[in-house]
Amino acid sequence: MTRRTTLLQLFTYLAAFVIVLIFIVPMALVLLNSFKSSAEASAFNFELPQVWLFSNYLEVLTDKSVGRGLLNSAIITVGVTVGTILVCSIAAFVIARRTNRMSAGVYSYLIAGMIAPFAFLPAIRVLQFLGLYNTHLGLILVDIGTQVPFITLILVGFIKQIPRELDEAAILDGCGPFSLFFRVIFPLLKPVSFTALILLFTFAWNEFQNVLFLTSGSNVWTMPMTVFNFQGLHTYNYALVCANLIVTILPVLVVYLFSQKYIMSGIMSGAVKG
């Protein structure tokens, strides 16, 4: 019995080791090659560089398109994250509290968007019509539109658990609906807002399809688009491309390291209800 258990434990460690290798090798490879010279990186293997070229990062970060891409990504990400949480939470508040046909109808209407794929092609024309084609605002609003269903869903679920007595007390104290929401309810949404924030941040930072189809110029391109074009331009300099890849994933990596618990609970709440 004990021999079997030891054997099983040995197998567990062996399997875990292999898994870690499979997942870590591609990531480590990119990191290592980002410090090599162009010639060394062309083999794209695990040989250590002769000289560690930290200057690759300087070269990437001073590239005009990368600077522009980082700025655009920051604008889009902040816009999508803040915008979605604001419009969704205030609506989720009414949906969770009111039981009439109107709020239930709006809720089902929004939830339908979780199944239907986004019709990105005609969106080009809609944005052109509104004068929002190839603008930050247009991209932000489209991204918000695609994220609204899921974020509203997790917010409604959370607000339903907040006792209604709070609302009544606040109203008796002279709060209007606006200050009731922003001064009493919104601060209580911190845990779920944090989960939403991380999901939205990751989504907006990585989003590519909308940027590809709904923008036509580098003035709005975010990092994934920039990195895609960058590797087209520097086809033979893997080192620079790798440095750019690291720059692109770094913000998300930092967020992940600090908030893994919230991300997983967010994915779970989405999976269970979705």
Partner: protein
């Protein structure tokens, strides 16, 4: 009285911003797309005229082979990634449920690629799977030169290579969902099975797997629908090639759009929209039926 309080404290106009954004930027494009599909809209001009079913005729008759080919590829891709992610994901979830040192680290590493940009992952695997890339170097060095391949350049293999990259990137989703379900199995169920003398295999296959079947089913469905929408990873690795070997619906649409024929591209986009909605509804229906049968 109650409803007066409700309408004063929870005003309907709080619903307005979200409903407006969702309508204008999500629903209107979908509806407008149906209209565009029946017009000669072009990316070069802003006006369009109704031309009946011409776009659909071009799509479903003249270009039938190319378009249906992309649908078939999409379905193969969705099936391969679903089998891969579910099979490997369930096995990984059981492994990561065992007690061992460094378990949290391994979990974090397995979940990590979920967070990465698809484009970044695509570029990295372009390097690794290249003719002289790391994978072939590795196979060479251990004497398996016969197995070296042009992984992303081969007509027969490319679709499966991309599916492999997708599995690497997305298996963490399945692990999260299944692992949470394993952890939610009531302890007394396992204890009583152990008391009855169930061994490890019986415990896994007779007790635990049936208990987490709903989670496995859910993960399978989510994976399948996302496989039916897959685009970015294909765009970042093969771009639909070689030839049409990895052409899926959205790469087909983007090439149709590149000819400036927006109406034609919209007709392909509409077929894609209808197909995914139908599949999602059918799957949803089957799941509901299965759940109802269980109760």
């Amino acid at each position: 009285m109650k409803s007066a309080f409700q309408s004063r404290v929870y005003p309907h106009w709080f619903l307005l911003p979200v409903a407006a954004i969702f309508t204008i930027f999500f629903v209107v494009p979908a509806a407008f797309g149906l209209w565009l599909a029946f017009t000669n809209a072009s990316t070069l001009s802003t006006r369009q005229d109704f031309i009946g079913f011409d776009n659909f005729a071009l799509l479903l008759v003249d270009n039938r082979d190319a378009f249906f080919g992309s649908i078939v590829n999409q379905i193969i891709y969705a099936i391969v990634t679903t089998i891969g992610k579910t099979g490997i994901g369930v096995a990984l979830a059981f492994l990561l449920n065992r007690a061992f040192r460094g378990r949290n680290f391994v979990r974090a590493i397995v979940y990590l690629p979920i967070m990465f940009s698809t484009i970044v992952v695509g570029i990295v695997f372009n390097f690794i799977l290249a003719q002289k890339g790391l994978l072939n170097q590795l196979l060479d060095s251990i004497g398996l030169t016969t197995l070296t391949q042009d992984w992303l350049g081969s007509f027969d293999l490319a679709l499966y290579s991309v599916a492999g990259i997708d599995i690497w990137m997305g298996v963490g989703w399945t692990v999260v969902i299944v692992l949470a379900a394993i952890q939610a199995i009531p302890g007394d169920v396992i204890e009583s099975a152990e008391l009855d003398g169930a061994n490890g295999w019986q415990l896994t296959f007779r007790i635990k797997i049936p208990f987490i079947m709903h989670a496995i089913g859910l993960a399978t469905l989510l994976t399948f629908v996302s496989g039916m929408k897959a685009f970015e990873i294909i765009y970042a690795t093969t771009g639909g090639g070689p030839g049409h070997a990895t052409e899926v619906m959205t790469t087909f649409i983007s090439k149709a759009l590149a000819t400036t024929n927006l109406g034609y591209a919209a007709s392909a986009s509409f077929v894609q929209f209808a197909l995914i909605c139908t599949i999602a509804f059918v799957i949803n229906y089957i799941v509901k039926r299965l759940e109802a049968n269980q109760e």
